[in-house]
């Protein structure tokens, strides 16, 4: 019996070591950090224990800017990408020809390096001395005036960020929704057709309720993902996000930790915990709402 126990733990040991050192210990440690005031990473000393780090972070204009940016990003991209993905998935599942081709193409952004393709978006939107950039030329074509999306006004930059974020998250959502749609038994559609149900009514009364668990799953993961946005912004605006006014909460955490403004793991911890609290709250609200509206 003892032998048996030892054996089980032996098999688990590697996983346990990795998880213990790089997940469980850090998880505890991050809370410790966040309460240690005036921590100095060089000497590894601190003055005292308290809530100063949180207070500092919450009063830091860069953090507030990051929170604002992140919230805007979340509020715009989550509904838009989910809705668009739903539209595209429904369109996809109503055709036979070319379906697989479209599906394959739509999935491509998933397997690309966010940083690398972000560069392409940058040059498409950027206005330089040599050229106004393709998007601006397009705008001019339609009679608008050009605007620098990368180094220009706030909302222009926010637009590109949202656009790129949606471009990046769409493959996953389309994939999940098409397979959810495919799993709805054809027999319900036949039954509805025999009853002369109009298309939009089939969609709202049968399709939507039946795939609602998947939609809510996407909304929840979408919220979590969008709150953790970071590399998309780096790809578009470079590593100095504070200067570009495009920092995100995660970006703020990393900036506090490392880089030109870095060396403050305590502030970083406090910011990370605040982020975690926000995400947790939103997820709980989502779950409560879904209990009411989702048919399982």
């Amino acid at each position: 019996m003892d032998n048996k126990n030892r054996k089980g733990w032996l098999y688990l040991l590697p996983a346990f070591l990795f998880l213990g050192v790089f997940m469980i210990y850090p998880l505890i440690d991050v809370f410790v950090y966040s309460f240690e005031e005036g921590y100095n990473s060089a000497s590894q000393t601190f003055f005292g224990i308290g809530l100063y780090n949180y207070s500092y972070v919450l009063h830091d204009p860069y953090f507030l800017q990051a929170v604002k940016n992140t919230l805007i990003l979340v509020i715009i991209t989550v509904p838009l990408s989910t809705g668009l993905a739903l539209l595209i998935s429904v369109a996809l599942s109503s055709i036979q020809k070319l379906r697989e081709l479209f599906q394959t193409v739509y999935f491509l952004p998933y397997v690309t390096n966010t940083l690398a393709v972000g560069l392409v978006f940058m040059i498409l939107f950027k206005k330089t001395a040599y050229s106004d950039g393709l998007v601006n030329l397009l705008i001019q074509c339609f009679g608008g005036s050009s605007v620098d999306f990368i180094d220009g006004p706030y909302w222009a930059k926010m637009f590109v960020l949202c656009f790129y974020t949606i471009w990046v998250v769409m493959p996953f959502k389309i994939l999940i929704l098409t397979s959810a749609l495919a799993s709805v038994n054809q027999i319900y559609y036949n039954a509805a057709r025999v009853d002369g149900t109009p298309k939009w009514r089939i969609f709202t009364r049968i399709t939507l309720p039946m795939i609602s668990p998947m939609i809510f799953y996407l909304v929840i993961t979408g919220f979590i993902g969008a709150f953790k946005a970071y590399s998309d912004a780096v790809a578009l605006f470079g590593t100095d996000l504070n200067a570009a006014e495009m920092n995100t909460i995660v970006g703020y955490v990393y900036d506090m930790l490392y880089g030109d403004s870095g060396g403050y793991p305590s502030y970083a911890s406090a910011a990370a915990i605040i982020l975690f609290a926000i995400v947790l709250t939103i997820t709980c609200i989502n779950l409560l709402v879904s209990k009411k509206h989702v048919h399982y």
Partner: protein
Amino acid sequence: MRQTIDFQKIQKRTRTRKALGNVIIYALLTLWGLIVLFPFYWMLLTSVKSYGSYNAEYVPSFFTLSPTLQNYADAFTTVPLGRYLLNTLIFTLITTAIMLVVITLAAFAFARLDFKGKNAVFTLFLSLMMIPNELVVITNFTTITNLGLRNTFLGLILPSVTSVFYIYLLKENFAQIPDELYYAAKVDGTSDLRYLRRVMIPICRPTLITIVILKIIECWNSYVWPRLITDDPNYYLVSNGIQEIRENGFGRENIPAMMAAVVVISVPLIVLFFIFRKKIMAGVARGGTKG
């Protein structure tokens, strides 16, 4: 029931409606297809335009008549792109290999062995799935720095190995193998490790392949951790590499060379995707999320 139904009218109406609907659907799908593909086309196109002709175009042209591979040569010579690629390859392969061993052993223990505290540990593992990376990265950064592992492969790899989700996925798959096989093997005097190697791994190969592919994608695209832990370009991975190229590489204006680097970085995963398209999509649908 009304007996005077105008059949022809109804028929005609349904037919035109259907045709119209089809046009709208295909238009929508094609539009999104173009939005997805256009950046890829643009990076390929730009990467074969010469530096001079790119900068001379105020209105960028949608094709080029004199493609050049000079940019690709530049990408490999002016900046250490080859180095970045090699680093990423080493990082990806070693991380994936270690992960595979670790999660297979753990999943086997959870699925097949009986020991005290198994359920408690499994619950603990599951709850770890909810922990965001951002929370633990701070301490990991300090840990690795204190161990003096900055700018080493070890420092890059160690914190990237663990993946609770894959343990869970594999455990579920292992658990589907009927117990009889295990008992039969026991009767034949097969050791646990041999049973794992000879029976469970072959049966669950599809899941293992899926996990490997997903992990490779994850490693190839990882940015945050490598950025924190390396500042020596000799240890840059492609993501950091491309960022470095963008900020200090060819000089900011050599966009074609930059695009050539982007193409080189993107190609391996796209090739992998076209080979394992079905597996990747099925694997992601089963529970992958980006990042």
